[in-house]
């Protein structure tokens, strides 16, 4: 047996925009074990429920993450609405679904860019982020914010989208789709990309399931875990199929994200066609008294907001389990056996968002 050495990876590393530390135990160039550390930027946002009313707290919930911000606010308000038995207007549910899919598109494009950058494919990185601008522009035009949208509230949404704007958005997405197809073709069909990703960092279906993998990390290993299928917001009125790949390697996780963007565009188009007329919010009276595990599908996978109220305007507990947090054990598993040079690529394929995990 070769002598084992430990190489620290992170918290500062070119492929890591946020601080994750891994102690990589190596035999020659092969990783035989990986010990993760987080906690560098733990913010304790959950504790703020003691200082903010449940209606105001949505702004904090949204700031858990700067990428999947919108879906954090959606998951939080859904939990409160369930406890308070609030009937959210239909139109608001469709609008929430549209913005959720925009959020997924911008997150996946961000990831594809970072991933290309991690592989040293700079032009691909720039093209992915160029297309992402279109998505951010639509988010800004309809919500007022590119990163933090601030449109979700308990009882509905704060803004409506006119039918003309919805048509314009769908038309814009369909035009963008051609460029998106060109971009994703490189990720899916380019030989140099495939040779960098195929057979690297394999996570079996069983391991993915029992280690708690969610989102594209799980779906890349053949697991059809997609919380949108539970029918929250307006997803129960939309026809769509989750993208599932079976190889369980870096290529599969990349392909899931690339293909999911087209599903998102389809969902947005269906929503634009089916969205009914009507109000976008209802007045809320009372305070939450009860508990609920609110679940939703973020770009990185299943997120859970545990909400517990005691009939006062402050919640007793708000606990967030983010997708990155539960994808850490699968990451440890799939790093075992990879070459040191592949570690950055493997780490990126779970799309780690430490800001979320550290909430």
């Amino acid at each position: 047996m070769s002598k084992q050495i430990v190489i620290p990876f992170g918290p500062q590393h070119p492929v890591l925009p946020e601080p994750l530390h891994l102690d990589l135990v190596l035999e020659d160039e092969t990783v035989v074990d990986a010990i993760p550390s987080i906690g560098y930027v733990h913010r304790g946002l959950e504790k703020l429920v003691e200082k903010r009313e449940f209606t105001e707290y949505v702004f904090i919930a949204e700031r858990i993450c700067g990428i999947c911000s919108y879906i954090h606010s959606l998951t939080y308000v859904q939990g409160v609405e369930q406890i308070m038995k609030v009937e959210v207007p239909e139109r608001a549910l469709y609008l929430r679904t549209i913005w959720s899919e925009y959020s997924r598109l911008h997150s996946h494009l961000l990831w594809l860019g970072l991933f290309a950058d991690g592989m040293g494919f700079e032009s691909l990185f720039m093209n992915a982020w160029r297309l992402r601008e279109h998505i951010l522009d639509d988010l800004e035009a309809t919500t007022g914010g590119r990163v933090i949208q601030g449109v979700c509230k308990v009882g509905g949404v704060r803004r409506d989208i006119s039918p003309e704007k919805l048509d314009e958005m769908v038309k814009g997405l369909r035009e963008m789709e051609k460029e998106l197809r060109t971009l994703t073709n490189v990720f899916i069909h380019d030989k140099s990309v495939a040779s960098r990703l195929r057979g690297v960092g394999i996570l079996s279906k069983d391991d993915a399931y029992y280690l708690g993998a969610v989102g594209p990390t799980a779906r890349g290993s053949g697991l059809d875990i997609d919380l949108r299928q539970t029918g929250y917001a307006a997803y129960d009125r939309i026809n769509f199929k989750s993208v599932v790949e079976t190889d369980g390697d870096c290529y599969a996780r990349c392909a899931v994200r690339a293909k999911e963007m087209f599903t998102s565009i389809d969902i947005i188009e269906q929503c634009a066609k089916k969205i009914p007329e009507g109000p976008v919010d209802v007045k809320i009276t009372g305070t939450p008294n009860g508990e609920y595990f609110s679940r939703a599908e973020q770009p990185r996978g299943e997120v859970i907001h545990y909400i517990r109220g005691d009939g006062t305007k402050h919640l007793v507990r708000h606990r967030v389990r983010t997708p990155t947090f539960t994808n850490i054990p699968p990451l440890v598993k799939l790093l075992k056996g990879v070459q040191l040079a592949d570690v950055p690529v493997v780490v990126l394929t779970i799309d780690p968002c430490i800001g979320c995990a550290e909430r």
């Binding site: 550390s37 906690g39 560098y40 504790k47 009313e53 859904q78 539970t230 054990p329």
Partner: protein, 126 residues
């Protein structure tokens, strides 16, 4: 909008390992483990999912109680169990990867074991 049915089953600490093992045998995945301070006690929720059926096992523990780790059954449980110790100070015995209080680097030790009092924090940036 459809809300899912969620079932919570209160169990005792001695039952925890057997019940977690049963969930694994029945093909449930571990969704999360989360702690909440309710009055003077702590509620720890072990959430599982199978085919989008959400089931929650709940133990209630007093401060200073030790609980067994389920990381021998669900390997990935170590992230939640380390979190529970770091934020609430509840000792979990037998964790497969035990960070011994260094998983989170918080300025205040076991910060979530103290309730600061429900009140609005007035905005100072006026």
């Amino acid at each position: 909008m459809s809300f899912e049915e969620q079932m919570t089953v209160p169990i005792g600490i001695p039952e925890l390992l057997a019940r977690a093992g049963q969930m694994r045998t029945e093909g449930y995945r571990l969704v999360q483990i989360g702690c909440a301070k309710i009055g003077d006690t702590y509620e720890i929720n072990y959430s599982f999912d199978k085919d989008r059926k959400f089931l929650n096992l709940r133990i209630t523990v007093a401060p200073g109680t030790e609980i067994p780790s389920i990381s021998g059954i669900y390997w990935g449980a170590f992230v939640y169990e380390n979190e529970i110790f770091d934020l609430y100070g509840i000792t979990v015995t037998g964790i497969n990867i035990d960070f011994k209080g260094t998983f989170y680097r918080t300025a205040v030790k076991h910060a979530f074991s103290v309730t600061t009092g429900k009140e609005d924090n007035p905005c100072l940036n006026k």
